[in-house]
């Protein structure tokens, strides 16, 4: 274990890329050295199969090329930026220049853009306490070589979504596949960002991606993070958000299970009157694993949080959900709600859910609810009395369970795309697909 840690630290120490990012890399490296390595005895990792993570970091992965390139979303008119194994792929990207929008990769940033990036880089991560910004996020900083910087100027609304695709081929050794997304919205700005993670089915590889989202006064960001990478993929990711006065975040997380998948979402309410709506879905099957952590830090008064997470677990898969709402002493008049519902489809599937409330202010209203069960037998019975077979009825009901959340996606092409992707995920049998529409 300590050998692995030393190897990782040694790799990160020797890592060189853009020289202007060196100070940030060094800062992150110092944190990595001081940080706790993910281990089962730590509360935050205790149910995760950390061995899978360790094994993936220790063993170099075989080189492979990405054959499956079906990551485009039909009918979606979007600006598209593609990273392959953490490096920018200009050929696959389509970016149009627009007034009031800076959309540039770290590797191509001008001196002015570099200074803006340096100003904001780490500003969200640094807000998080030690427990929420674990070593993997710092490792992303220490291995940082490229990323995407999106800045929307004051009073500019960008209606065309920005799509960021991270393809993992397996050619990366693991640690260096560490892309960073940095989004900065000015006052009254608006944008839609779709992050999509795809991988090559044949290869096993690691991606360690961090997104930092700074949402300015009265600004609105729609953020979709689609972890559709599956199979042998080891995916560790974090989204750290700072909300200023009256800022709005509409977040959506989709995590299909993989060999090891962990997504951390940390939102800081730092201004008054900000809203945070987060919806999340995790779907696992086979022997897959998904670990979803959501932490909302209410540091200021009059803020709102609404979180809805649902999971469906099939076969012998395992999922973990941690939902923490932390109300600091100054955060009076907070309204916060969290709901987590889980469907266990098969004997052998395991769910560990922990909705937490940590409250240090009295004039607040907070609630959370969590349920775990299988599909209701009377609902199944009802469909069977209407002549629908049991298997089909089960699929219809579980699909309905998540479709409710998909319907909240306001980007229509994205919604339609996800509905069809997830329908396939569920059925594994095209004959039943006709029932889902």
């Amino acid at each position: 274990m300590s050998d692995l840690r030393e190897t990782v630290v040694a790799t990160a120490t020797q890592w060189t890329s853009l020289p202007w990012l060196a100070p940030y890399r060094e800062q992150s490296l110092a944190r990595v050295k001081a940080g706790q390595w993910p281990e089962l005895r730590q509360e935050h990792w205790m149910h995760s199969p950390v061995r899978r993570l360790h094994a993936a970091l220790a063993t170099p992965t075989p080189s492979d090329t990405l054959t499956d390139k079906t990551d485009s979303i039909p009918a979606l008119d979007a600006m598209r930026v593609v990273f392959v194994d953490g490096a920018f792929d200009a050929d696959a990207s389509t970016v149009a220049a627009m007034d009031g929008l800076t959309l540039v990769t770290f590797s191509e940033a001008t001196a002015d853009e570099q200074s803006r990036i340096v100003t904001h880089l780490g500003s969200c991560l640094n807000q998080a306490d030690k427990r929420e910004r674990h070593i993997m996020a710092d490792l992303n900083g220490a291995m940082l070589s490229d990323g995407l910087f999106i800045q929307v100027d004051k009073n500019v609304q960008i209606s065309r979504p920005i799509e960021v695709v991270y393809r993992t081929t397996g050619a990366a050794t693991g640690l260096n596949n560490a892309p960073r997304l940095l989004v900065v919205l000015g006052t009254h700005a608006e944008a839609t960002v779709i992050e999509q993670f795809v991988n090559n089915a044949a290869g096993s590889a690691v991606v360690n991606a961090v997104a930092e989202l700074v949402i300015g006064d009265n600004a609105t960001l729609k953020h979709y993070r689609l972890g559709v990478d599956q199979h042998a993929m080891v995916h560790v990711g974090a989204v750290h958000v700072v909300l200023k006065n009256n800022a709005n975040l509409k977040g959506f997380i989709l995590a299909l299970g993989s060999h090891f998948k962990r997504t951390d979402m940390v939102v800081h309410h730092t201004g008054q009157g900000s809203h945070c709506d987060v919806t999340g879905l995790y779907l696992t099957r086979g022997e897959e694993h998904s670990d979803l952590n959501a932490c909302i830090e209410h540091r200021t008064p009059h803020c709102f949080t609404d979180e809805v997470f649902r999971g469906i677990l099939a076969d012998k898969s395992k999922a973990i959900f941690n939902g923490r709402i932390h109300i600091h002493p100054q955060a009076q008049k907070t309204l916060a709600n969290l709901s987590n519902k889980n469907l266990l489809l098969d004997q052998g599937a395991e769910i560990y859910t922990k909705p937490e409330l940590e409250i240090y202010a009295d004039d607040v209203r907070c609630a959370h609810g969590a349920t775990v069960s299988q599909i209701q037998s009377d609902a199944l019975y009802y469909l069977q009395t209407r002549g629908i077979g049991r298997k089909e009825a089960e699929i219809m009901l579980s699909y309905g369970f998540i479709n409710e959340l998909l319907n909240t996606i306001s980007v229509a092409p994205l919604r339609a795309h996800l509905q069809s992707v997830l329908a396939v995920q569920f059925t594994r049998d095209s004959a039943i697909l006709e029932h889902l529409g």
Binding site: I351, E356, D362, A367, A370, T371, S373
Partner: protein
Amino acid sequence: MSDSIDQYLKKDYEAGFVSDIDAETLAPGLNEDVVRFISAKKGEPEWLLAWRLKAFAIWKEMTEPTWAHVHYPEIDFQNISYYSAPKSMDSRPKSLDEVDPELLAVYEKLGIPLHERAALAGVAVDVVFDSVSVTTTFREKLKEVGIIFMPISEAVHEHPELVKKYMGSVVPQRDNYYAALNSAVFSDGSFVYIPKGVRCPMELSTYFRINEANTGQFERTLIVADEGSHVSYLEGCTAPMRDENQLHAAVVELVALDNAEIKYSTVQNWYPGDKEGKGGIYNFVTKRGICHTNAKISWTQVETGSAVTWKYPSCILKGDNSIGEFYSVALTNNYQQADTGTKMIHLGKNTRSTIISKGISAGKSQGSYRGLVKMNPGASGARNYTQCDSLLIGDQCGAHTFPYIESKNPSAVVEHEATTSKVSDDQLFLCQQRGITQEKAVSMIVNGFCKEVFKELPMEFAVEAGKLLEVSLEGSVG
């Protein structure tokens, strides 16, 4: 309002007197000799000494748990006296008449039903003073129906087969740091055995009191309800006011065999420390019960005392169709900290559990609910419902909820809900509009908030609990 807050803060801890009773107290420190001394003092058989020594060896290898949401200075386990017994108890009294009158006066002062009051209230009491069981009432009457109710130190001699069979079967020595410590140095406690098919004709009760300074209290309670039997057991605790913190590390084990039912109620009012947070009891208790087929264990607790509470009464639902219940009111004020909750481990088919937890935080206190609901692969058709609500009074306190839900069986259903809020302004306004003073209104609202739990308590306790809460909250709302 701030006047009444001040008034409340000045309120004395009513059970905070010290009784001047000659006591034999062992010098502070813990080593194998201390364990041997305690065992010898009790004239224990060889097997029990070996059991204790094994626990002590395990304890030495363990480290103190730090995961709870509580903060306190490190405990120096070598600075605690592990044995203190009222001296006059050396020749054990045959009846209440022989009990040191000063002791009786203590209980009189506490207002607990002992002596004639016991008869009136119909409660059989086992009194544990510091570490030693002082007196047990109604033993003869209980004996008629075959019930054994006696100090565990006597049970070791009179019913060694039962003690040997069940002690450590629910909470093994290795279970956790404080359980291991208790297993090594426990001095006394209560033992209850209800024979097959017997319904205990009266409530059984134990009263715990820490009296001596610098002592820890380590009692051990073991209740065995044989097939088809039923028992309701009450537990109460108080301690004197002292500047230093005192340790209370108890173990309670319940065994409910097939079709048996155990109801265990606690009103915990250990000294909570003064308004600056100085002194008070560290209450680190391990309570667990095991339910066999069709059995039922119900925990009800009202926690108002202790500086730091670390307590998770749990049920292992081993047998099919068994039932576990947990009803709790935990009130913290001033600088008190409580991390309390339950564990429901579902092993058998169609097992059911209900958790109702009400937390009230006032002053500068921190109250946490920490619970585990675990559905094992064999728990087909199991069901859990959890509700935990927190009420905040004042803007410097904290209320936290840490529920752990784990399910490995698709047919098991787990439901959890939690809310946190302050006393609603609308409700207060409505009451005040009807001519009820603010103070009274808050008391009414808080009582209503806790009603689901209070209704589970035996009558005498429900009255006491309601009063305790009212007193504890007086003036803390503004």
